[in-house]
Symmetry: C2
Subunit: 418 residues, 2 copies
Amino acid sequence: MKIKKLILNMAMEAKKAAKTVATLSTDIKNGALLNMSQGLIENSQVIKRENAKDLKEAKKKGLSPAMIDRLSITDSTIKGMADGLIEVAQLPDPVGTIIKMWKRPNGLLVGRMRIPLGVIGMIYEARPNVTVDAAGLCLKSGNSIILRGGSEAIHSNRILAHILQEALKDKGIPTSAIQVVPITEREVVGELLALDEYIDVIIPRGGEGLIRFVAENSKIPVLKHFKGVCHVYVDKTADLKMAEKICLNAKVQRPGVCNAMETLLVHREIAETFLKPMWESFKKVGVELRGCSKTRKILPNIKKATKQDWYEEYLDLILAVRVVKDINEAILHISQYGSSHTDAIVTSDYDRALKFLKEVDSSVVLVNASTRFNDGNQLGLGAEIGISTSKLHAFGPMGLEELTSTKFVVFGNGQIRK
Amino acid sequence: MKIKKLILNMAMEAKKAAKTVATLSTDIKNGALLNMSQGLIENSQVIKRENAKDLKEAKKKGLSPAMIDRLSITDSTIKGMADGLIEVAQLPDPVGTIIKMWKRPNGLLVGRMRIPLGVIGMIYEARPNVTVDAAGLCLKSGNSIILRGGSEAIHSNRILAHILQEALKDKGIPTSAIQVVPITEREVVGELLALDEYIDVIIPRGGEGLIRFVAENSKIPVLKHFKGVCHVYVDKTADLKMAEKICLNAKVQRPGVCNAMETLLVHREIAETFLKPMWESFKKVGVELRGCSKTRKILPNIKKATKQDWYEEYLDLILAVRVVKDINEAILHISQYGSSHTDAIVTSDYDRALKFLKEVDSSVVLVNASTRFNDGNQLGLGAEIGISTSKLHAFGPMGLEELTSTKFVVFGNGQIRK
């Protein structure tokens, strides 16, 4: 009951603050973002001290070294967060922009003006930098945010929120525009997901389990980010040197993230010529291959891929490989086993490049480039708050514009409807 | 169990058809739309015969004359539906359009391409013309649709679906792209709302009860259209003749629809000069006024407005009237009692016009024009499938573009991530 009341209260305050934040000038918002950035640098010692409490707890609980790595805040993490806020301040303010305007036969001028969504609820796991990144993006786009981070990061998140709120105060912005849930009880999430009267959208970030739980239990619309089973299809007309470079980058540049390649599809006519040197390159950096029967005729020493492998998001130095008959079989494979995240073709054929772009139903579809480019920053949106793999509202990386909606504004001079 | 299976099967078929419909050429889609239009005209007799069964049933059940009026299909209704399909054929095809394109420093060309949403579930009440309008819009935007109309219209909807499907067949389009649920059992809706694996978005149209039920029970994202408590604010600088014309139009041109004015807000300095002749005009056409205490000092014979009146969507020749201190009080009133639907200001002051446009948080905000313009056709979107009063995905009238999403398409020449 106490938790219910706490969360309800936070949500109501966030809604109230949203009305103010929606009408702030760009200058005030940018000033607050720079304040926030400076606050982080000035309070480095306190942040690291609080983070140490989380780390101590994490080690006691026996969390994995990878988890502990993601949890830990160093001077360079703090610099990264502070620089991120400065970058967001430099991005154009979407709020109030009229993105399109046209004239009706009766003389009405009709435009679509960007407006904030309202209150964003963010539910995420270990990385405390998400707290700062998300808060910055929501402020710039005129939204309030309620942040519910992982319990492992509670001390870090609380101090970060405190620093951000101090920066808001200094600019006269209500502090409830950026709130971190200060408690770790599990029922908090359920309480948040029921408050559709106050929270306008939920953005979960984390493992598949968390996202499914949120999607299934939310009364509030959810911008989902499910797994990334990303493909590269190497066409028979591909420049094979380029294909090798792209595949290597897509698999190993950062294998633990959602836009890394998980399955390689190769046209049968160039399979042998391509796969043999490719396999040598992969071996050098420790990538394990799992192949279909045709792949294993070319590379007899690799493991056999089962049907399950086609669905797998390894997030590791493992790659499934399948030899396909043609581009149609490649597209069919992607539609059957893919996750609508990121898929690329390497080809020098014009028609097949366009066919792949048109027919592959994923949030980012690339020709002759690495899947690793599915990222708000890389695609030119500025910082991103997440990647949506469902089509409603936003599909693909979500930047500032995706945190807004549009309303119609109409300029008349006495028009009435006939 | 039989119903569950029927609905599941329809949804699976719709999903399958969606893949085909998504890639149809504009010519094929337009051809099918024209076929559908012709099919309606050619089958007028059959349609009216089936509609007569619904009407007979409706009269037996004692439905209101208004309901029966909305249910009945005449030659002119058929002509209207047929013409509507021709208009949709003439609208530009959004699918495949690249709405924006830019170049990254590394040479990547990044664009956003419109794509269909997938499968639309439409849940609506009596008017059978929605069946045809929605089917046409969904086909043109490359989506499949499952239509669940009111039980009163079941014979009409079944024959309409049959005619539309025949038109699809003729163009080689899978008939499951347009399906009407052929049974009237109540549990159908619940079954539909659970199939988030196959249906991508639900659009309910009808009374507030239906929409709340759908919103609360759906596992699928819902594009909601709640009630329209629309305001006109007459500023002290308004051209009072213009204000009178606009208010009359907004209230009486079609009082039963969601974009009709329900509350009139008047600046106190011009309240007396404006309200006295306005009241004479309203009286002539039978509008009943309910006023705040200040209004009733000017018009002592009208009823008193209670707080409940400010929330009311009368959909009738009744109007609440309140005298306000200034534009701030007007905006506050709208934010407190309005429904984010449609609000207008009548003013000749530049600053106040812009202030109202910026600060009123509604899907359509107008200066010096009637609220009745909140309509896809009137605003230049072409036909509309509904009006969204929540901000996610679409806010305001939804036309063809609102039935699409965008994916990122990336043209590279070997770029990899550094």
